[in-house]
Symmetry: C2
Subunit: 321 residues, 2 copies
């Protein structure tokens, strides 16, 4: 299978089991005839799954890492073959590999990325999320949980990573960078945010527009929203949690009042407009190849959608084209 | 007007102007015949507003503090009479005053509270919010922005303040305390959160149930959600922002598809169930009298609703009874 572009998929670590991920891989092959796949996981299971083996390379690495495992200890544990590390190693060395998809532990991905894929000038990768904006555009939230306890210089680095990403993949000439804070005034924030504000304001290579509050994460006020991983994680998960709560309440109301059909239609529209499955797809920034992290609860369709992002990027289209 | 319970209302500092707050005060009087009010602000304006002056004490303090003013400098500036400080002073010394309502700057409230109303054993007050839960109950989020850059011991104090509050006002015997983090596993969090987790787990006087992620802020998993003010502020504002975005999108869809009426009905139901106006009403904890902070954008009805909370508390009912 020489020279065909390939996506590496870690089949283990998903909350829904490897079957779901392999089903997703089949959808990817069906939708992308020009693409091959490398599947990492339990060889026998992949072989017996009914997937088109003529287009699939299998790497046998049958051990899954959970959120409860220590990823650093696991990385140095030579008695087990963890799929996530094998997958990252493969995407690093296979010239045809355009990127990798995993629905496993974020911690494990970070450890593996640092070892196999980190840009030379970076210390740590960032995990960005692409949030839908009411304006019809998107906002790149960086970081969403990869780097916790960041200093000001790290947050400035996030601003650069996010800007570069939005320039390249959304063709935005001068991405507007906002800084997540607890008030819009320049003096609002914790110590790190206040110091970061000064640094960003002084950085001529960035189009810094000031502080952004949590209620403006979805309003398209900025193209890049910079946050420490702890706070960014709150924004990401809270957005998703609030949306699910409201949609659930809407369905309950529909049942109670006999407007079930309308409630279902609205819920369907919202779920499509604010695609919460792909909200969960994090993009590693500061790495040599694209690594996309799906939510642990992603279904086969999400795997297919995330693969489409990689294909678009490879074809130099915009992200969701 | 001796011995009648009184609520002190700061009429200045609202985004909608003092007229709106004074309109709210009229609604409070109409709904609570047993109550008197002390209004702080521009005496002439209050006098000419048409409010029933036989039930109102006026304190003339015509200067409003904005979010852009430095509250500490303002506190020591004797050339101006800031309504928020006068109101706090009054509630501290008037025995009949059951509490105070302000829609002005949080920073100013904090500075004034520390001076006039702080519990003797406290260093700083906390600003809690009462979030509606899908279970039908509520969750007390503490802190929402009063204390930034908290250490672990401060977060433990928040746990105690929140527990006491939920015991007293919601008659919950043993409130379940959760700690906001970026993962449910005990090892997840920033440095302060990890250390706080240990302290809370060891504290026998608290019913600690572990870490809570941002997508579970509204699911009623805990009665008290402990957070540093920076992260708590993200949860509060993001919940509100996401809800408004979804409701806006719902209305747009209704217009586009000819289901305007159904969309309006659902939006109305959601706005009522998750009362975002009173979401914005923060409760100061760790103070000698109740101080309720409305959102700057609160309307007259919100003022009335917030006053009702104070009256219920005074009558030893539960919070929203």
């Amino acid at each position: 299978m020489p020279n065909k572009p390939t996506i590496v998929i870690d089949t283990l670590g998903s909350d829904r089991g490897p079957e779901t991920v392999i089903e997703g891989a089949k959808l990817v092959l069906a939708e992308n005839p020009e693409l091959d796949l490398t599947l990492v996981g339990d060889e026998e299971q992949i072989r017996n799954s009914g997937i088109d083996l003529s287009r699939v390379k299998i790497i046998h690495a049958p051990h899954a890492l959970t959120n409860y495992d220590n990823p650093v200890a696991a990385f140095y544990d030579k008695s087990a073959d963890y799929s996530v590390f094998k997958a990252l190693e493969e995407v690093g060395k296979d010239e045809n590999a355009i990127g990798m998809i995993s629905s496993g532990s974020t911690g494990a991905l970070l450890v593996g990325v640092v070892r196999y894929l980190l840009d030379e000038e970076r210390h740590r990768p960032a995990l960005a999320a692409i949030l839908p904006a009411t304006t019809g555009g998107v906002t790149c939230l960086v970081d969403t949980g990869a780097s916790i306890d960041c200093g000001p210089h790290q947050l400035v680095e996030f601003a650069h990573l996010g800007s570069d990403f939005m320039k390249k993949l959304y063709k935005i000439e001068s991405p507007r960078v906002g800084l997540l804070s607890n008030g819009s005034e320049p003096g609002k924030g914790n110590k790190v945010v206040k110091e970061t504000h000064q640094l960003l304001a002084a950085d001529k290579s960035i189009n810094f527009i000031g502080n952004i509050e949590g209620n403006h994460a979805l309003t398209g006020d900025c193209d890049v929203l910079v946050a420490d991983g702890f706070a960014g994680n709150q924004v990401l998960k809270n957005t998703e949690g609030t949306a699910l709560v409201l949609i659930g309440e809407m369905m309950k109301w529909g049942k109670m009042t006999g407007h079930e059909l309308e409630a279902k239609m609205i819920a369907g529209h919202l779920m499509k407009t604010y695609d919460f499955q792909s909200l969960g797809a994090g993009v590693m920034l500061g790495v040599r190849k694209y690594v996309l992290k799906c939510r642990g609860s992603s279904n086969a369709d999400s795997i297919k959608n995330v693969a489409k992002i990689l294909v678009n990027v490879h074809n130099n289209k915009t992200f969701y084209e």
